[in-house]
Symmetry: C2
Subunit: 330 residues, 2 copies
């Protein structure tokens, strides 16, 4: 970390997030000194957002700050863990104190909400990219994985996937000065658009749900790249396949107002950026799950099966939907 | 992590580095599950290398892989800690399996040497940048910091700073097809150039020395931005200043052959990229230090003083040297 970086970090990021007694030494030295709790496993996740790839050029810095942390907290949630400490690697094309202040506010608000302390990182000059790592804890041996699903387990998703894809379209329409309300015949009032936009710009990591699923779900993954694709990854990691019953997918009321049935179905299955949790539950754990998850919004959407791959079914008949997942290198 | 990324990571980075029994779950899930040892503090460091900023465009991928880990291991060394686990966030302009294989080899060779396991990370498309985080351990309460120095403590540096700056010049000369041997009248044989170039391309993190300095050094920092600048940071963090006795600086034999006395002095004081350790020792710990550090190469180069800032002295007389540190945002 060089002088200018240090000053940047110092001004905007020192003591950002929640104060924690397990931070022996935070931002400002060669590294952070942290005190893990006994009898817990450490969870380490890492995700990078690149301008023009993971968010549109010119996105609101507060949203970028929120999302750069949220996508990592979502990974922590998918492990059934509780987050504690974050590291931030910020690559910036130029020094911009206003941008940094807004970015820091987005990051800090979410960090404080989940009692996460920023304990280190670095700032470098280059094309805008934000790398975040989050460290968290789970009672020893109880971390959730993608690998524990078995044929016959029911597949669930939290919340209402597809909203973020619509939100991204709205953000793009606004930044290209198009009027989203003229796109098609569906109703697109300002409240609907604001709701969907916030679902892209300020996603909610499902940390409480993830923790509640420990010892209950057989496998878990977060929905970052699209529901069908992420279900496929969970199934493959569990050594089986998945059947998705698309008629079960319930869109949010806002998405129903915003998009035609065909578009909202495509977004629900392949949209990405939702940061909901997909998880599986065995028949034996079904009632424990319903007890544990009674405070959360979730949908039962299918079942793990023996045959590999993801099969989409509608009222029991196989259907085809191309481009079911989004791939940066595709 | 999306499909293409996963495949990239999977092919080149799965099980990269040393196998470790404290890795419960490595690359391939939403996060890694790790088991910290009892009675130790966790050390977390993070550093990003951006093409064109931290290494020349077109650098050898094996060197980039080595350096991206080495700069982080150097931070771990400066904390007196032992590294254990690494996360890698790779941003690539395009998929290039040959480049990735060479990069992974550079990263893996150094990781294996220090028993570091790669446990996670992500791959995204964008301008070439490599973010690495390393987690390590130090016995509880015994981490080295920048803040413990006091006026009167002697200042030391490991190895021979300045070599990497000469090595960077050689790398640049080679990539611009200039002949470094014609630059000035000093002797520049191939062996000299290879040695200096390797000091830039394949720096050695001083992990064994860092661990030996626990309970012995009063403060420690690694030399990433230039000796004088990094001494200044240590002094400022310790609430004092520093006097550097420049006549004490001993260049490597290779640097003496490569550069004129004026240039090598500037490089030794301000060159950066050396990843040596600067540390301070109180009079009371002097003999313990000499015992602990007897197997290592080091130079005594000055003293912490009450007056803030870094004063350069030659045979007791103050001298002036501008641009004593390099600042990305300067």
């Amino acid at each position: 970390m060089v002088d200018g970086e240090f000053e940047l970090i110092d001004r905007h990021f020192r003591a950002l997030g929640a104060p924690r007694t397990d931070v022996v030494l935070g931002v400002g030295d060669d590294g952070a000194i942290l005190r893990p709790p006994p009898a817990h496993d450490l969870i380490a996740v890492s995700d990078t957002l690149v301008e023009g790839v993971h968010f549109p050029v010119g996105s609101a810095p507060r949203s970028i700050g929120h999302r750069s942390l949220a996508v990592n907290l979502s990974d922590v949630a998918a492990m059934g863990a509780t987050p504690a400490w974050a590291l931030l690697s910020l690559t910036l094309p130029a020094r911009d104190d206003r941008w940094l202040a807004d970015f820091a506010r987005g990051f800090a608000t979410l960090a404080s909400r989940h009692e996460v302390a920023l304990v280190g990182g670095d700032t470098t000059r280059g094309p805008l990219a934000i790398g975040v790592q989050v460290l968290g804890f789970v009672p020893q041996g109880r971390g959730l994985r993608r690998t524990g699903g078995r044929p016959g387990d029911q597949i669930y998703v939290s919340g209402t996937p597809g909203d973020a894809a619509a939100g991204l379209e709205i953000v793009r329409d606004v930044s290209s000065a198009r009027d989203a309300t003229t796109r098609d015949a569906t109703t697109r009032d300002a409240t609907t658009c604001e709701f969907l936009r916030a679902r892209f710009e300020y996603p909610t990591p499902r940390l409480t749900l993830g923790a509640a699923l420990r010892d209950v779900a057989s496998a878990c993954i977060d929905v970052s790249d699209g529901l069908a694709g992420d279900v496929g990854k969970l199934a493959a990691a569990s050594g089986c396949g998945a059947r998705l019953d698309v008629e079960r997918l319930r869109p949010s009321a806002a998405l129903s107002r915003y998009a035609s049935p065909e578009r909202l179905r495509a977004w629900m299955l392949a949209g990405g950026d939702d940061y909901e949790l997909v998880f599986t539950v065995s028949a034996a754990n079904r009632s424990r799950f319903e007890q544990a998850a009674r405070e959360f919004e979730w949908q039962q959407i299918g079942e793990l099966v023996v045959e590999p791959g993801v099969t989409l079914c509608e009222h029991g008949r196989r259907i085809d939907l191309s481009a079911a997942s989004f791939d940066h290198f595709g």
